[in-house]
């Protein structure tokens, strides 16, 4: 885990003081709401339908128990006893009072956390692989590279007023758990024949109104040139990205309009100007950061045989754990998707208990996933039963990872001012309806957004649902065939939309047809879709 030094702490403390000053000026009427809005947004504070919402950054989705307990404290002290983990590995609180936010940010700063740039047209929280340092397929831990970016992008003087928001993901694996092809910049650590690590750079992916997969603009970037090259990308975007139309302002539109080759050429040209300016820290800085991410000392001789005689436990182990790079260990995903509950929500008490488990059994680490679940990354297999029992006691032992009821959902019209339709009730209904048969369906990723901005990643869903407003009525479009993984693809609309009950029935029809079409029980829905195409599903739903 990265720990702040005196410089990091001083910057975060100054940010708290700055925001306190800004809130005081607003409350005294010295600045208008129009002037205050961009200032509060850059501190993650939105005015939503019912109250202020505060989004707290969880850099690359990594927390320790002390930080998770603070998130629980904030839920109790400043909110209504719960928080909502987001698709950007952050947490949101929905019932915040403006005058209390300076104290809240001070509480966060006391555990090396902040809300820097969790909104606004700037570089947002850097996301990463939730299995970092635990996955067997990883070249290197991506988090030092993400932390370097976090620092570089914090209060960047040139790139805080971009045409639009900017999202970067970093992964160290070929198996993509960070959806790098769907980010403004995706970075994949790669290794050359000499064993050196370099960066593969993708630019111009995204979801929202115009979904696109990011092309590779540089197959190999030396680590020593990392930040100056990022500056070059951002400068080309800041100067030439469209500002005349908010819906065409993301970098994907610029990359698409120019073509990936021309965009890459412009970046190289700008980089030639920037590279000699000494913008890149020396290798010792990355090494300093990386030293904070030393892999935990796990006993490779730990027992690998565990008692699976309890069928419920055995099922949870089969569904919610992954193999760890160290024998005798496992990666545990804690599902925040109990059918009928709000996807991604956790109560303060649940957060405290998970913090206890992390401290006791998991090397004091917790990860947040973009699928709105939590992960204990380093667990001895011998401790799995105790963890499962503890999770069951707090209602968090749902064995549904990557299954039909493990639904990604944005907050939707229940909370969000941008939404056209509710998302949460659709997720709840679908989860309850599909849970009984999800075991036989295998991997099935359902993702729901309440508006075209796509925070619920509907374009990356095997089954995606998009809520729209049709003449004042909530209407739900059905999309099929998306993936946010290494086999990324964009889901396509199947046909006319449905009302709230109709969309649930339509998804059930799609699933029934899949069961009759699949080559064998191991063929995933996504693979069946890719093999047979849209027609059989259209017929099932509309025929």
């Amino acid at each position: 885990m990265y720990r702040y030094d005196q410089y990091d702490q001083a910057i975060v403390d100054a940010r708290v003081a700055e925001f306190k000053d800004q809130v005081a000026r607003r409350l005294r009427g010295e600045i208008t709401e129009d002037q205050f809005k961009p200032l509060r947004l850059m501190n993650g504070l939105y005015l939503q339908l019912h109250a202020y919402m505060l989004r707290v950054a969880i850099p690359y989705g990594t927390l320790d128990s002390r930080q998770l307990r603070m998130l629980a404290h904030i839920a109790r002290r400043y909110d209504r006893g719960y928080g909502h983990f987001t698709t950007r590995q952050n947490i949101q609180y929905n019932w915040i009072k403006l005058e209390e936010t300076p104290d809240l940010l001070a509480d966060l700063a006391s555990v090396e956390m902040h809300a820097f740039q969790t909104s606004g047209n700037c570089i947002r929280n850097i996301s990463s692989d939730q299995f970092a340092a635990a996955a067997a397929d990883e070249i290197a831990d991506p988090r030092p590279y993400a932390e370097l970016l976090r620092q570089w992008s914090t209060l960047h003087p040139e790139f805080s007023f971009l045409p639009r928001k900017f999202k970067i993901a970093v992964t160290g694996s070929a198996l993509d758990r960070a959806a790098i092809q769907l980010h403004d910049i995706g970075i994949q650590l790669v290794q050359n024949d000499a064993g050196e690590i370099g960066l593969k750079v993708l630019v111009g992916g995204g979801m929202g109104r115009t979904p696109m997969l990011a092309p590779v603009i540089r197959a190999w970037l030396p680590v020593a040139d990392y930040l100056s090259y990022m500056e070059a990308i951002l400068r080309v975007y800041n100067r030439h990205g469209r500002r005349d139309n908010i819906y065409k302002a993301r970098i994907k539109i610029l990359v698409n309009d120019l073509g990936a080759a021309e965009f890459a050429r412009q970046v190289e040209e700008e980089w030639a100007q920037l590279k000699p300016l000494g913008l890149d820290p020396p290798p010792s800085e990355l090494a300093r950061i990386a030293a904070h991410f030393q892999p935990p000392a796990l006993d490779a001789g730990a027992p690998v045989d565990i008692d699976l005689s309890n069928p419920e436990f055995a099922n949870w182990v089969a569904v919610n754990t992954h193999s760890h790079k160290v024998p005798g260990h496992a990666i545990v995903t804690i599902s925040l998707k109990a059918p009928g509950e709000i996807p991604g929500d956790a109560s303060a008490d649940q957060m405290d208990r998970i913090a206890d488990l992390a401290e006791r059994y998991a090397q004091d680490e917790i990860r947040v996933t973009h699928a709105q679940n939590l992960v204990l990354p380093h667990v001895a297999q011998a401790d799995l039963f105790a963890i499962w029992q503890a999770l069951r006691d707090i209602g968090l032992a749902t064995a549904n990872l990557d299954r039909a009821s493990d639904i990604i959902s944005c907050p939707g019209l229940d909370y969000c001012t941008l939404a056209n339709a509710r998302s949460i009730p659709i997720a709840q209904k679908l989860a309850v309806r599909l849970a009984p048969q999800e075991a036989e369906l295998g991997e099935l990723k359902i993702k729901i957004s309440g508006c075209i901005n796509g925070c619920g990643h509907h374009h990356a869903g095997h089954i995606g649902i998009l809520g729209v407003d049709r003449k004042g009525e909530e209407n739900y479009q059905l999309l099929l065939g998306g993936s946010g993984a290494e086999d990324a693809s964009l889901a396509k609309i199947l046909g006319p939309g449905f009302d709230e009950n109709g969309i649930v029935t339509a998804v059930e029809k799609v699933i029934d047809r899949y069961k009759s079409l699949r080559a064998d029980p191991s063929e995933r829905f996504l693979d069946t879709w890719r093999r047979v195409g849209a027609e059989p599903f259209k017929e099932a739903v509309y025929g």
Partner: protein, 140 residues
């Protein structure tokens, strides 16, 4: 021009700034609009004494790149930000290379000084003299 917030001690260069399209070689003051390419001025930096960069609305951010490009090219005279600018942006402006601001609504000097003194450290190198924390960490 009492409402210009200026961080320079040299006398103000008062010649009116002309639009880039009307600029003639040898001219001493010019104004860049957001979409203007700052690099077109590079051959003329020796003659220029003041470059104004327009911020017609708050969301506009291209001027930050323009100023930094001019500083990277070695321009040392005044770069003035003009338009819809708030005192809370002052640190960004200064770090991007501006040393004068003419905001629509004048800055409160006390708030401006407080803002400039706010952050004791910076994470990245930019157009000002501040050393990033990675350099301080190396003991340099």
């Amino acid at each position: 021009m009492a409402d210009v917030f200026r961080l320079r001690s040299d006398p103000e260069h008062t010649a009116p700034a002309v639009p880039l399209a009307d600029y003639q070689p040898g001219g001493t003051a010019v104004r860049l609009e957001p979409a203007d390419d700052a690099r077109l001025l590079l051959p003329h930096l020796g003659a220029l004494r003041r470059i104004e960069i327009a911020f017609p609305k708050f969301r506009e951010g291209r001027g930050f790149s323009s100023a930094r490009i001019l500083r990277e090219a070695g321009f040392t005279h005044e770069i003035r930000a003009v338009g819809v600018l708030y005192v809370d942006q002052l640190t960004f402006l200064v770090r991007a290379g501006f040393d004068a601001v003419l905001p629509e609504t004048p800055f409160d000097p006390a708030v401006a000084q407080r803002t400039l003194a706010r952050f004791p450290h910076v994470y990245m190198k930019a157009a000002d003299a501040a050393r990033p924390v990675w350099a301080l960490r190396q003991g340099g």
